[in-house]
């Protein structure tokens, strides 16, 4: 059977020590048995490593940060579409998702398909609303306090014992052992990610994660649980292993069924010594370790593309247990011309 020719645009080619999911998403798509994909890499910075990885993207375009305004970003996508004819767009950053969700219909009218959560789904799982989310869907979550100013430290101390987690709205999380550290992290995070800064109860246990894909009708199309084996100083997984954990799978399926989640997601959970699971975060997109799921037998990027195109996807229930990923860094030697092209022309 011949493969379906298709053009897919992907963001998140920043395969750094804080990696975006773009490169592993593309690897999954390239291993597809049904799609023969032409890949358009969309980058924000001219040193994103995915630009320089041989054989990864067919074309590369620089796009403006969503902070420049949604319209500017979408107009740039439309301009790229006029020459490249994008069939499916897979955004991979939390910060850009809002712009793409808001303009889903505008993009779809031009033939650019996406498969993203709805605005309500996206907003109700935000970190500063996690407590209400837990109550609504019957999931254990740590207590939290949204901080707009340092005067709330006394509220924080009344509510929680140290240590506490101090988190940004989109990224960054630190463990604070005392009020001095709370102040330090509060300033650091608010300067970068704005307000509120979220103080979260520290739950002792092992961090475990699930990557999943919901079809928007309550069905779990794919789900693979993983435990990080090696964590960088930025808290990123540098090695991980798939688990056999029925409780995690049940929790995931229940959550997708109740929320009717649409698109990729990552559940970040803490498993306590009593085998209780606390949901600490939901990332509303495919995580950077997605290639482990592909290697374990669930090609989530391929399934997401099918869903975006309105094709039928049978739920994937099997995966290899004990499959590991180990990341590595690699020095690519690059000619100046390529760097000059992306810097000056904003495309390669």
């Amino acid at each position: 059977m011949s493969k379906q020719k298709i053009t897919i645009a992907v963001t998140g080619l920043n395969n750094t020590d804080n990696p975006g999911p773009g490169v592993p998403v593309i690897r999954g798509i390239k291993e597809s048995t049904v799609f023969d994909a032409r890949i358009i890499g969309l980058v924000y910075e001219n040193l994103e490593p995915g630009i320089y990885m041989e054989g990864l993207c067919d074309r590369i375009f620089q796009i403006p940060y969503p902070s420049s305004g949604s319209d500017e970003l979408i107009e740039r996508i439309e301009a790229i579409h006029s020459s490249e004819k994008i069939d499916v767009l897979i955004p991979n950053f939390d910060a850009e998702l809002f712009s793409f969700m808001k303009n889903e219909e505008r993009l779809a009218n031009q033939g650019i398909h996406t498969f993203l959560p709805g605005l309500k789904q996206f907003q109700e799982r935000e970190k500063d609303k996690l407590e209400e989310f837990g109550k609504k869907y019957g999931v254990k979550v740590p207590g939290s306090l949204n901080m707009g100013s340092l005067s709330q430290i006394s509220d924080l101390e009344a509510k929680f014992d140290y240590p506490v987690m101090i988190k940004g709205q989109f990224y960054d999380a630190y463990v604070a052992q005392n009020d001095e550290q709370v102040k330090q992290f509060f300033h650091k995070i608010s300067a970068k990610w704005g307000f509120p800064v979220i103080a979260q109860e520290f739950v002792n246990g092992t961090e475990v994660n699930v990557i999943a894909l919901g079809d928007g009708k309550g069905n779990t199309v794919a789900a693979v649980p993983m435990r990080k084996q090696y964590i960088t100083d930025k808290g990123k997984a540098w090695g991980g292993i798939t688990l056999a954990d029925d409780k995690m799978m049940e929790l995931t399926r229940n959550l997708i069924q109740k929320t009717k989640w649409r698109g990729g997601m990552e559940l970040e959970l803490i498993k306590t010594n009593k085998s209780e699971y606390y949901l600490i975060e939901i990332n509303p997109r495919i995580p950077a370790w997605v290639y482990l799921a592909v290697g374990a037998g669930q090609n989530i990027p391929e399934a997401l593309v099918k869903l975006a195109l309105g094709q039928k996807v049978e739920p994937m229930t099997e995966y290899k247990i004990g499959k590991m990923f180990v990341r590595y860094s690699y020095d690519a030697i690059v000619d100046l011309e390529k760097f000059a092209a992306i810097s000056m022309n904003k495309e390669i």
Binding site: T206, V208, M226, R227, Q229, I241, L243, A244, D245, I321, G322
Partner: protein
């Protein structure tokens, strides 16, 4: 006392708990003890076999065996319905 369902034991002594993601390395004697537990041998059978083969008194063996089992239990490699059951 039984090995939990998620445990995979390799012949080279590598033990993997697929529920927690933990892995352990056993020396040949540790592997032998674990295999004996896996096959359902009770404490007396294991003890008699060890006392026949090694120059060790039964009190020392019992102490070391219970310590080993406590470690296996802590890492969720074995489960015991009764904490005093070493059969």
């Amino acid at each position: 006392m039984k090995i939990t369902g998620e445990i995979k034991i390799s012949d080279n002594g590598f033990v993997f708990n697929s529920r927690t993601g933990d892995s352990f390395n056993l020396n040949p004697f540790g592997l032998e003890l674990l295999k004996n537990i896996e096959t359902g041998k009770d404490f007396d059978q294991i003890k008699n076999d060890v006392l026949d083969r090694f120059d060790i008194d039964d009190l020392t063996f019992e102490k070391d065996f219970y310590e080993f089992c406590a470690l296996l239990k802590h890492h969720q490699i074995i489960s015991q319905d009764d904490p005093l059951d070493f059969k």
